[in-house]
Amino acid sequence: MAIIEIRSLTKTFGKIQAVRGIDLTIEKGEIFGLLGPNGAGKTTTIGMLCTIVRPTSGQCIIAGFDIAKHPTQVRRKVGIVFQDPTLDTILTGRENLQLHARLYGIPSSVRNLWIEEMLELVDLRERADDLTKTYSGGMKRRLELARGLLHRPAVLFLDEPTLGLDPQTRARTWEYIRKMAQKEETTVVLTTHYMEEAEAMCNRIGIIDAGRIIALDTPENMIDTMGGDIVAIAAPEPPLDKIRSLPYVSQVKKAGDTIEITMKSAHLHLAELLSLIPAIISVEMRKPTLSDVFIKLTGRDIQVDAIENGESWVDSIARYRQRGK
């Protein structure tokens, strides 16, 4: 059953076409990853689906409601965790959830019960009555996840849920997301810069570039389109034409002293391949990853983006702290 149906959705800001026509169907219970370089239109797309940004044209139905015609009903059906923290720092963790429960019209008879359940799920019961300004980055993220799911939405949107967290906290945060998605049968739509995480978490991935979806498939199928394993060989004079003519080689790229060969079943053909190349300095073989798919499709390395983005995030925290003083 489709929970989200997007038809030719576009958004134009002045002269800039941020989203240039997206068609996408997301099934109930899916964990769907929306990946793309900075400025590709991810956040704008999510903004439109959450009814924060008004679409320029096109249509989108979420859980049976049209985002343009029935935004309030859509809002009741979706939960959102933003890229930057949006907790009320002068309230405690529990009070943040109480505020949210009232705003989302959760009946008072079940309000406290649901809040307790969520606090339990994200392991914050012991700290629930502390002000959220005393929380660590990971705890804040967990509380935001709990808040996003408190009203039992059909769809949870996560915009870079692990950006700026250390690797250990990131891993735990994903664990919580998976646990919650299973427990509540929630459809999760997320954006992330971390390719390994997207590969491990998502049932399906859409790669978005310049406002369009340019690839849509399972992570496994996407990696398969790379045409096999990647062998990187450093050698001074590789016989490129000979290598290209081998039947199992699908692509050869030369970068400086290194050639990168994409080939099927490298473990069977490696010996033959190496025998053709004189004076080999080093050999490296690996399976392609989603990052390789991403670079091939967009011509950009998302990890570099992540570092740039990470820095600006740290900067904004520094500014935030200064202002607080």
Binding site: F82, P85, T86, Q98, L103, G105
Partner: protein, 254 residues
């Protein structure tokens, strides 16, 4: 659908109000300073000037008591409203604005929250009214009503300005060019009569807050220029206009 809609919106309004109330009690320093400042006006400024001046047969400190109550309401209300600039900067408001509650309800929740804060401050000041011998305690309910309506107007005004402004730099400008003139031109600190230069008289007359001061002074001290229905009428009109303006601007806020 209709009664469900109304119920949800009312719950939304009460949620925003509840939040403001929690924050008010948590920020003890704000409560203390909101009480200390008017007291300094009354006892340091009022007693100082009062040593050489009295108005009719009322001593100066008692005379400005209604004016200082109004001052408390002006500063408390407008600053409360302007505080949303800060909330927006820190993204506190973002999670509230995406809730399935109309903007108007969030706006009303904020207005009620702000008026509650301000009324609490006013009640603290009323608790000390026994220090001002000319004040008639039976006038307090009417004074409270007038101050409440004024607070509705000014919280709305603050929220309206807060929705327009992007940065905290505008804060100083509003403070110097709006709040202080509103206060000084309200007759809070001096009687408005023919002894004033005519330009000053005219400016006081067009300031809606002059009618708050006149009404409160009438209720507490029995000294007033206009009948109560004029005072109440003008500030109610002012509050209605500001509520409308505020809800429009708040709804359009990005």
């Amino acid at each position: 659908m209709n009664s469900d809609f109304i119920q949800r919106e009312l719950l939304g309004i009460s949620a925003v109000w509840w939040r403001e109330f929690k924050v008010f009690w948590r920020e003890k320093s704000r409560i203390v300073s909101s009480f200390v400042q008017p007291m300094m006006w009354l006892f340091l400024f009022g007693s100082g000037i009062g040593a050489s001046i009295s108005v009719g047969d009322v001593n100066y400190r008692d005379y400005i008591y209604p004016g200082i109550l109004t001052m408390s309401v002006i500063f408390g209300s407008v600053f409360f409203g302007l505080y949303i600039i800060w909330d927006r900067k820190l993204d506190v408001l973002k999670a509230v604005l995406i809730a399935p509650v109309t903007r108007i309800s969030i706006f009303f929740g904020k207005v009620i929250g702000g008026c509650t804060d301000v009324l609490m401050q006013v009640l603290i000041l009323f608790a000390f009214s026994f220090l001002f011998p000319s004040v008639n305690p039976w006038g307090i309910p009417l004074a409270l009503l007038i101050l409440l309506i004024t607070s509705i107007a000014l919280v709305s005004l603050g929220l309206a300005l807060g929705s327009l402004l992007e940065s905290l730099e505008g804060f100083q400008v509003i403070s110097s060019f709006l709040i202080f003139p509103l206060f000084f031109l309200s007759g809070a600190l001096f009687p408005v009569d023919e002894r004033l230069p005519s330009w000053l008289q005219a400016m006081v007359k067009i300031n809606p807050l002059s009618y708050t001061v006149d009404g409160v002074r009438g209720a507490l001290l029995g000294i007033h220029t206009y009948p109560f229905y004029i005072d109440l009428g003008i500030i109610t009109l002012f509050a209605g206009t500001m509520l409308a303006l505020g809800s429009i601007l708040f709804s359009r806020m990005k």
